[in-house]
Symmetry: C2
Subunit: 430 residues, 2 copies
């Protein structure tokens, strides 16, 4: 019997739609060869021989997809959260990222990062590395070994950044990137490369063109930053006066999702200040928006209009954006998404209804999970990404159901909750 075929029993919940949480007490979640067969009140005859783990009163819900985080920034998360973006970059981010030139340093730092990510609620992640190919390969080695499913980007930047973090020129940057792609594209079971121009201002036209060509040649997904703060948006307009919006620059070079010539997706982090034109382009190109509520708060960026994006049917997931966000936990990310949506309603646009808990949970599971395929639900046919949560230390009223328990767990997991199990694509992580 395959180890990724099994039955879990417990207090099951998952998003049916973004507005509806499906719950089943003492339900059975059935997985065959990594693919879920659905949730049942009684085990159907044909699955009776599968090994069963009874998690008793514990909560069982889908794994979380973190659509945007910077692995090399993990060592200083929580530092400099009272600085402004530029100070923070200069004081913490750039000096730290330059350390990954040293493989010894990378070994030490990425060991901690991958261990912590493996223990976290995240089952899938889309991750920035640094410009350093050896360190990025090391990160991929380590991530692959966790059995989490991840995309990792060697970062590209050849202008408008400190010397210690600048690729010397577009030609060598592209050659490095191509070699890295060839080395990693088929090297791993769980980890894939993703093209990663840091953001428009740090990439020369030659570099962007070359990355677009690599995208086309290898049909790769792309990740970058988009419309995070007003001065960045202005800067991009100055750098590329021909562009109709910031996203248009990525699109022009074939780095902006479906319409870029392939059906490979792109993820753009933030989208706090996307114009009407840009929103339309995000939709047309089926670009994923990685909403990073804590980072947008900590770095004084603002609040992304997620209600509007959902109303317009855009693809939205959540991101911790370590270390702009200080916390690795996607549970915290959900509660932050709900929280900032309430301030958005109060301070920016009183016609934008705040997000519900159901919507936040949906965004963290199916919303971001769909970037990876059929991920984030417990419906039949989804890959088996599962979390098991012990909330027995969180007191509860007898009148509460699974929904209330899940909600309290999301808010209080840092204090009193505990993840006791995690599966990715059917494989048990712990």
């Amino acid at each position: 019997m395959k180890t990724d075929s099994w039955i879990l029993k417990g207090m099951i919940c998952y998003s049916k739609t973004k507005d509806e949480l499906a719950v089943l007490e003492n339900g059975y979640l059935i997985c065959c060869q990594g693919i879920l067969q659905g949730v049942y009140p009684v085990i159907p005859e044909e699955f009776r021989t599968l090994p069963l783990t009874d998690y008793g009163d514990a909560l069982i819900f889908p794994g979380m997809a973190d659509l945007h985080l910077h692995a090399p920034q993990y060592p200083f998360c929580g530092l400099g959260m009272d600085l402004e973006l530029l100070e923070w970059l200069e004081t913490h981010t750039f000096p730290e990222e330059s350390r990954y030139q040293s493989l010894d340093y990378a070994e030490q730092a990425y060991t901690i990062f991958t261990e912590d990510l493996a223990c976290s609620p995240t089952t899938r992640a889309v991750i920035f590395g640094t410009i350093h190919t050896p360190a990025t390969k090391l990160l991929m080695d380590k991530l692959d070994a966790t059995n989490l499913k991840t995309y990792v980007g060697k970062v590209n930047m050849d202008q408008n950044c400190p010397d210690c973090l600048r690729e010397s020129d577009a030609v060598s940057a592209l050659e490095d990137t191509k070699n890295w792609l060839l080395d990693t594209m088929d090297a791993y079971k769980n980890t894939k490369p993703i093209l990663t121009p840091r953001f428009v201002p740090t990439c020369s036209t030659d570099l962007m063109e070359g990355l677009g060509a690599l995208q086309k040649q290898y049909r790769l997904p792309v990740q970058s930053h988009l419309s995070e703060n007003p001065s960045e948006v202005d800067w991009v307009r100055q750098l590329h006066p021909w562009s109709s919006c910031y996203g248009d620059v990525y699109d022009h070079f074939g780095l902006f999702g479906a319409k870029s010539g392939t059906n490979c997706p792109a993820i753009m982090a933030h989208c706090v200040y996307s114009s009407k034109e840009e929103i339309q382009r995000l939709k047309q190109n089926s670009v994923y928006i990685a909403h990073c509520p804590q980072s947008n708060t900590n770095l004084s960026s603002g609040i992304a209009p997620i209600r509007r994006y959902l109303e317009q049917g855009l693809l939205v997931g959540l991101g911790t954006d370590l270390a702009g966000g200080a916390n690795l936990s996607m549970f915290r990310c959900i509660t932050d998404a709900v929280a900032v949506s309430k301030l958005y309603w109060r301070l920016v646009d009183s016609s934008a209804k705040p997000l519900t808990m159901e919507e936040g949970f949906y965004l963290a599971t199916i919303g971001g999970g769909s970037f990876f395929g059929k991920i984030g639900s417990f419906e039949k046919g989804y890959e088996a990404d599962v979390l098991i949560a012990d909330d027995s230390m969180i007191p509860r009223s007898s009148s509460w159901g699974i929904r209330e328990r899940l909600t309290r767990f999301l808010y209080l997991s840092g204090e009193k909750g505990k993840l006791i199990g995690k599966y990715v694509a059917g494989v048990k992580i712990f």
Copy 2:
């Protein structure tokens, strides 16, 4: 030798001013009979006989004052954080508070609350109970036994609230309150009563007048809510059209701090929408503002202009406002205060500089601590409220000092930090 005379050794930090953190590695913090004698690199001769606890590499910093929280709401914290204020009150708050009519229920719920508060970073707290005198006395019994220093209010409200939570009339409400005061005023070592009109709309003129008279007679401190959200401010204006501002109503009845006829302080939670007139009155009367950043976010209230209050020399501390805030941790409260100040800068007033980590830490220690006396610093003469934090699970760079370690601990304590010691007025809690 008295048990509240001792020396602690470790990595010491505390606020010297709101802009300056004092740090001393391997320092000695000396306490005689509950009063700090200061921080020293070497133990002065006269203290050599005091018992010493060596906390090694652990961080040692002042205890935190939580200026505003609702004990009866603790059982449902984290629930309904996606509701709007009125829905939240009706769905969770009012039904829960009405349960404290039952002493059995109160026993169960307040046991959990006091145990958790004792383990939290809070050494001093100003707490709302319910309208129920027996349950409030029970809460005070339990709090007193923790050795934390607390003020507790039996809540007054006789109008504009559900029947199950309304005192039947002003006369009986005032009689109950007076009896409760006489019973509790001198009954405890660590716990004191505080007058607690819930907020202006729920208190009749007769009730407010009577509370003002009790204040004058017994020279009691007062706590209430002020200018939390725009519709509440409008409502108060309609109820008391003669008033120059919301705070003027409390002041009129002698429930608004120093100018109310005694030098007993008042605490007003929130102050998100205080007018110029109200701000001046808060200052004149030396009223404490309990800034509750997470609650103001969760309940869609807005963001209080704390930078302005600090510039104008107002008295400001922090409050978790359980269960408008979901988390009991004052560490989280500090990071939330910094975070929302950044959104305030971005979304409301770009001339209001965001709070620094130093300022957030100051507000949680000295800012709120000063409501209780000389609390929140390690300077000579302060009462010995001390926390000891093990941050050994939070990886660190060798180049970081105590400031960086403290900052990371504040942000990451939910995930990887651990409080390993706590003293209040020299008494060891754990």
